[in-house]
């Protein structure tokens, strides 16, 4: 295929490019003044709670270097937890502790570290090392999510999460992100996690994308990633639909995890969600956004109505082999 032909085909399929995403969706639909709501995970958390959207439990917030010496006492009550920078981007600065032993804290990857290391890490977070603009930051400690078993066979360490892109309150496209050995248990695609598209209407997984190539099996567990029925699918779509209402951002990436006991929890929101999701779904996002623009006005009334419309309208393409 020549380049021009490829461009024509991509247009036909409705693939969204970076330039168009930035100019016509992010700049147009996401007012900058609302960005702090999603750039600061603590603010997102508070906002979600105010809207009865469940999130992982908040244990503690550390705002000043002076609070660090009290860390040991704060952590004494918890067997497992997660340390996060409030303004971290792309999963940087997040430390998962899955249990504590006599030697110290056991991290996600099995490494055992002393409290000193955690204190230093929190100090780094407060200095703004992981924050978007290098500004001083807050660190917070929240409960570790015990993910639903459904993705156990296709997860290497860590917690898989589900990304839903919502446009004008309507969930448009989604994928589940599965940690791999290469991604160090993190669910970020650019770190080497796999993204697996999800059929919007039915909530079953499609083919996956790993480092911009299509995969059908997990590279570490060698289990198939396709055809998995995602639990609580409709509830997650409703959370994504509500997230748009609560932030005022009309083009939004909503990241969720499924807890064994509590079900779907809102992890964080992203005002500049990536475009890799299109490869995971083997479908163009632009086409879906245009379909949403053409939807009858009455469906935009409530989150539930919008989700109902999605379940009616979007259905998966056949699997790609």
């Amino acid at each position: 295929m020549t380049i021009l032909e490829t461009i024509r085909r991509l247009r036909e399929v409705g693939v969204l490019g970076m330039n168009r995403r930035n100019a016509e969706y992010i700049m147009r639909f996401n007012p900058r003044s609302f960005f702090p709501l999603v750039d600061d995970k603590l603010k997102t958390k508070q906002l979600a709670e105010a809207h009865q959207i469940p999130t992982p439990p908040l244990y503690h917030v550390i705002e000043h270097h002076g609070d660090i010496p009290g860390l040991e006492r704060v952590l004494s009550g918890y067997q497992d937890f997660v340390i996060k920078p409030a303004r971290g981007a792309g999963g940087s600065g997040i430390v998962l502790v899955k249990e504590r032993t006599a030697g110290g804290f056991v991290k996600q990857n099995g490494q055992v570290v002393p409290i000193r290391d955690l204190s230093y890490h929190i100090s780094d977070i407060l200095s703004g090392i992981y924050s978007l603009e290098g500004l001083e930051d807050r660190a917070f400690i929240e409960g570790l999510v015990h993910p639903d078993m459904i993705f156990d066979a296709v997860t290497y360490c860590g917690v898989p999460d589900i990304r839903i892109i919502a446009y004008r309150g309507v969930p448009a496209m989604s994928m589940v992100r599965l940690p791999t050995q290469a991604s160090d248990g993190k669910a970020n695609l650019h770190r080497g996690a796999i993204g697996v598209g999800i059929d919007m209407a039915g909530g079953t997984t499609l083919a996956g994308v790993h480092r911009s190539g299509v995969v059908t099996h997990h590279p570490d567990t060698h289990e198939p990633v396709t055809g998995i029925q995602v639990p609580h699918w409709e509830r997650m779509l409703v959370i994504a639909a509500k997230a748009v209402d609560m932030t005022g951002l009309d083009y939004l990436g909503v990241d969720l995890v499924i807890d064994q006991e509590r079900g779907p929890l809102l992890l964080e929101l992203n005002a500049r969600p990536g475009l890799q999701i299109q490869i995971a779904n083997q479908a163009g996002l632009l086409r879906r956004l245009e379909l949403i623009d053409k939807a009858p006005p009455e469906i935009f009334g409530t989150p539930e109505r919008r989700v109902a419309w999605v379940l009616d309208t979007f259905s998966a393409r056949p699997h790609v082999h």
């Binding site: 693939v15 490019g17 780094d124 703004g128």
Partner: protein, 508 residues
């Protein structure tokens, strides 16, 4: 959404285009300021002997008018004082003062661009009076001789007169008595005056001119010829042989209207030597002098008016936006990653001191050494501000060591690092480290290579002299650059690398 940006871009382009057109069409700026141009180098050297008295030497010198541009002029006057005077249509250099017993050497140099006359509409000159000392009888005689050609157009009238003087007489031949009278007149007045009388009688404006023939030469004498206005342009006639100079005219008049080129009031000009040679210079240099003297608004606000020591900076500055434009293109049209917008531009500026090969060598050397140190420093758990400070110090240590090694090996480029690279390199190391940590070594190297690549392209653009000159002469081109930047800013199509990334989606 797209319309206002598009309109702005069009407005900026039009503004740029209008200003440029104005300069080119009305102020006669060169379209390609860096293009080579043939010019003449005129030099005059003379030796003046004095007596006891004050001496004054007057020599016709060229000046800028429609037919020629005097680019550079230098005067050597020894102990004499020098003045320029306008005299009729001429410019006269006047050297005057007390002459030392050993004599004085005076000199004049000029770089002259001769422009083809047909490019300009010249105003027809007024018909002058007959030369001095010509009585009514002679005027009538001349009228009788040329009267029969009165109905011919001026160029033909001129040619008939020239032929007649050479003895080729068109029928009907003139009266024998008249011919004899004319012959006597010619014997008395030489060649030039009779021609002028005949041309005046034929109502053709004419004047004697003195100057040099435009050929590479050294000569001690000047040339006299007659300029004749034949309705559209001046034609030149060689009076001794009665021949018309062929076009294009290769003559450099120094005085017109009968005054000799060299005149002395007291004093004695014992040797005078004229030399003409051809040279090639860039077009903008010819306009430089003119712009400096011009009182046109755009000329007065030209960058050439800046003191020379600041001009070099602006020559570079004018091109930096092009570097930024390159980065816009690479990032938004191609999709190539770079470390920010400014890093490659600053690197390109730093390369100007070190040269490309050494600059790139120093860049990669310091970044890789810096990366290793940065990895190691990460273990020390330094706080956010002191940590880059340590890196900065180490970068300077690195550069200093490079400079000392360069000194031992006699490599000037190693020592030629300016003040810019320190900050850039520190920033690069920090960004490089973060990218590698967050996105992996591949991504980090890819981005560093991207930045270095863009820096090289930007550097090549900054160093491209014709472009430097063009932007310096036409700073309004910056509006055009801004227009393209606006257009790139509204480009919502796919990036080239995206086409590759998503190509699979286009199949099936």
């Amino acid at each position: 959404m797209k319309r206002p940006a598009l309109l702005l871009a069009v407005a900026l382009l039009l503004l740029s285009f209008a200003l440029m057109s104005y300069r080119i069409l009305w102020l006669r700026y060169p379209i390609f300021p860096a293009a080579p141009e043939k010019v003449w180098q005129l030099s005059m050297d003379a030796y003046v002997k004095g007596g006891e008295k004050e001496a004054t030497v007057m020599i016709g010198v060229p000046f800028t008018h429609r037919g020629q541009i005097v680019v550079e002029e230098r005067i050597f006057s020894a102990t004499l004082s020098f003045n320029l005077l306008r005299e009729g249509a001429d410019q006269i250099g006047v050297w005057s003062g007390h002459i030392r017993p050993t004599g004085e050497v005076i000199g004049y140099r000029a770089t002259i661009k001769v422009q083809p006359q047909h490019l300009f509409k010249t105003k027809p000159p007024a018909l002058g009076s007959y030369p001095k000392d010509i009585g009514e009888a002679e005027q009538k005689l001349a009228k009788r001789l040329v009267g029969k050609w009165d109905t011919l157009p001026p160029p033909d009238r001129f040619r008939k007169i020239v032929e007649a003087v050479k003895g080729i007489l068109a029928p009907p031949p003139p009266d024998d008595q008249d011919l004899r009278a004319w012959s006597t007149f010619q014997d008395k007045h030489g060649r030039v005056t009779p021609f002028l009388v005949l041309l005046r009688a034929a109502d053709l404006p004419a004047r004697a001119a003195e100057g040099l023939e435009l050929v590479e030469s050294i000569t001690t004498s000047t040339l006299v010829w007659i300029q004749v206005w034949t309705g559209e342009e001046w034609e030149n006639l060689q009076p001794e042989k009665g021949e018309i100079y062929q076009k294009p005219v290769a003559l450099l008049p120094l005085t017109t209207g009968g005054d000799p080129v060299v005149r002395t009031l007291q004093g004695d000009l014992s040797e005078i030597r004229w030399a003409l040679s051809q040279q090639i210079i860039a077009q903008w240099r010819m306009h430089f002098e003119r712009i400096m003297r011009s009182d046109r608004w755009l000329d007065r606000w030209s960058l050439f008016r800046l003191p020379e020591e600041f001009q070099t900076t602006f020559r570079i500055l004018m091109l930096v936006p092009i570097g930024a434009l390159m980065i816009c293109l690479l990032r938004n049209i191609v999709g190539f990653p770079t470390f920010g917008i400014f890093l490659p531009v600053l690197m390109a500026l730093a390369f100007r001191n070190t040269g490309l090969a050494y600059g790139l060598g120093i860049f990669w050397g310091v970044v890789l050494i810096g990366y290793v140190i940065r990895r190691w420093i990460d273990k020390l758990r330094l706080l956010l501000v002191p940590r880059p400070s340590v890196i900065l110090t180490l970068v300077i240590v690195c550069i200093t060591i490079f400079a000392l090694i360069g000194n031992k090996l006699d490599l000037r480029e190693f020592m030629a690092v300016g003040l810019l690279p320190f900050v850039i390199l520190t920033m690069t190391i920090e960004r490089f480290f973060v990218i590698i940590e967050e996105a992996g070594v591949r991504e980090g190297l890819w981005m560093a290579a991207g930045s270095a690549g863009v820096a090289v392209i930007t550097y090549k653009i900054l160093q491209f002299e014709p472009l430097q000159l063009t932007f310096f002469v036409y700073p309004e081109l910056l509006f055009a650059v801004a227009a393209i930047q606006v257009l790139v800013g509204r480009y919502t199509g796919y990036r080239l690398l995206e086409i590759f990334r998503f190509r699979r989606l286009g199949k099936s």
